[in-house]
Amino acid sequence: MSAPLKIGPSVMLLAGSLALSACATKAPPELPPDPGPATTTDSGPRTLGPAPGSQADFLAQLQGDDTIYFDLDRYNIDAEDQAALAKQAQWLLRYPGKRATVEGHCDERGTRDYNLALGERRANAAKNYLSGLGVDQSRLTTVSYGKERPIALGSNEAAWARNRRAATITID
């Protein structure tokens, strides 16, 4: 889901460069080198993508699996979460120099204090699972935002389901 979003700006940048070169007919020698060939030296389909090992790369590779979702008042890791965390672990093991923070969040239908504690519990559940897959605990931190940082703004079941989450953010 986030992969197309990441390619978008690159394509626009490229289009911008083409437009620039098309307009600047008067002084061809002063033009900067064409950005296209420089990036094509990279291998594979990530030609125009983010730098390998960056947070942008993490998001592009995970395609939405950087975040796992929880049922109401729960913090257990279900099969879907396991698949997502396995992909996260795979990426983290590929870039052993990277650290990550797991952010725990809750929906608005809980009291403030409890949600802070519940968000922490969710973040820890994800962290523990990643650690079980071989990611060194010392590379992982947690932070709870309780109900303070909703991503979906409505007050309905669909929005609440999207807000009950643990999001892994890699640190560049």
Partner: protein
Amino acid sequence: MKKLLMFAVLAFSAPLAAQESAQLDIMDEDDGGGLQVTVTDDSLWEDLGIAITSFATDRDVPTSTNAGSTRALGRALSQVIADNLRNNGLFKPSGPAGLPQPGYTQVPAPDYPVWSLRSTDMLVQGYVRVNPNGRLTIGCYLYDVALQQQLGKAGWELPPEDWRRAAHKCSDMVYSRLSGESPFFDSRIAYIAETGPKDRRLKRLAVMDSDGANHRYLTSGQATALTPRYSPDYRSIVYLSYLNGNPSIYVYDLEANRQRLISRSNNPTFAPRWSPDGRWILYSMAIAGNTDIYRVSANGGQSQKLTNAPGIDIGGSFSPDGRQIVFESDRSGSQQIYLMNSDGSKQRRISFYGGRAATPEWSPRGDQIAFTHMAGGFRIAVMQPNGRGLRHLTNSWQDEAPTWAPNGRIIQFFRTQRNSGRASVWQVDLTGRNERRLPTPVGASDPAWGPVRP
């Protein structure tokens, strides 16, 4: 912060009016004042015709208050008193507009026939004057017109910037004499001021008087601030901040204008609360996802862990005698309310209702525990400390986090609007009637009502 310091040096025992020699700051107990013996139901007080007159002055001279000259200040004082009594649904006072204005010499000797003709039951009169040293002396009298008797009087000498405190003390005197209840108006509220959209909300620590006046922001909003509590002596505020990235409890010293972390641990800490004597702070700390309640001396030092059940144990509110703590735990599978002794012993569940029960707060009177009852909507409810006598006081989509007035008769909480997430502070009395929104400059949540000021 410096202004707060000056509150501490107030003298309330200063002589009252020039024409009276020996004065009491609060009336003696055997004054026989007619009503407090018989009136126990709010609805009876509400029917009292109570007139609040403009406070008189001996000389109309400039003051260094924001109200103007002594004459204007006299009117402002009575307006604050009338607003206090009216806004809290306690009485339906008249005045000061539209009422005769007593002269300075009439203050201790009211013109009873005039007030009888106007069918006034209770009469409040007072005066203000400027002392040579620039401080103010403000006096307040309560009369029963039918009995032609003085029910109460009080006087205060105070720095000009504190003039509203005299109006609150006078309101407290009138309210206490007529209702038999303990005072509460001269108190302050700490809360979180909220601005901005739901997903990028700015949350700042703020304080105000019980009527919303003297509002002040204490933090910039750069770091999210949550769940403040005034210390019982008003010298510091304990609250949660994301200042260092992780939610952590800070003790903010209002006089020194600096703050310190309550725990040196890197683990997140939440839900700070004071003991009624101000010597202890309860807080909750999560270690590896498991949250427990701790107790630490307000001066710092080693923390003592009070709970160790797997799951989330959080919050906590001391009984007025400091012997017990009511707290919240999900050890049974959902949020419920538990009691324990203040050393952590004898933990037992007391809430057995449908739904979840959270954020318990023990009444300063000791007889009730207020909490958030989540069963469909989020409602403010009260129960007895034995878990019996559940009563809902509000019925809205999301009401949360009750805090008690110092006298245990009124509860403030915050109400969140569906979808927009806009929050505001409200209050309701123990009857469940007289619900009203508090005036705050921007959105407001997490109110914490402090005690009556010394």
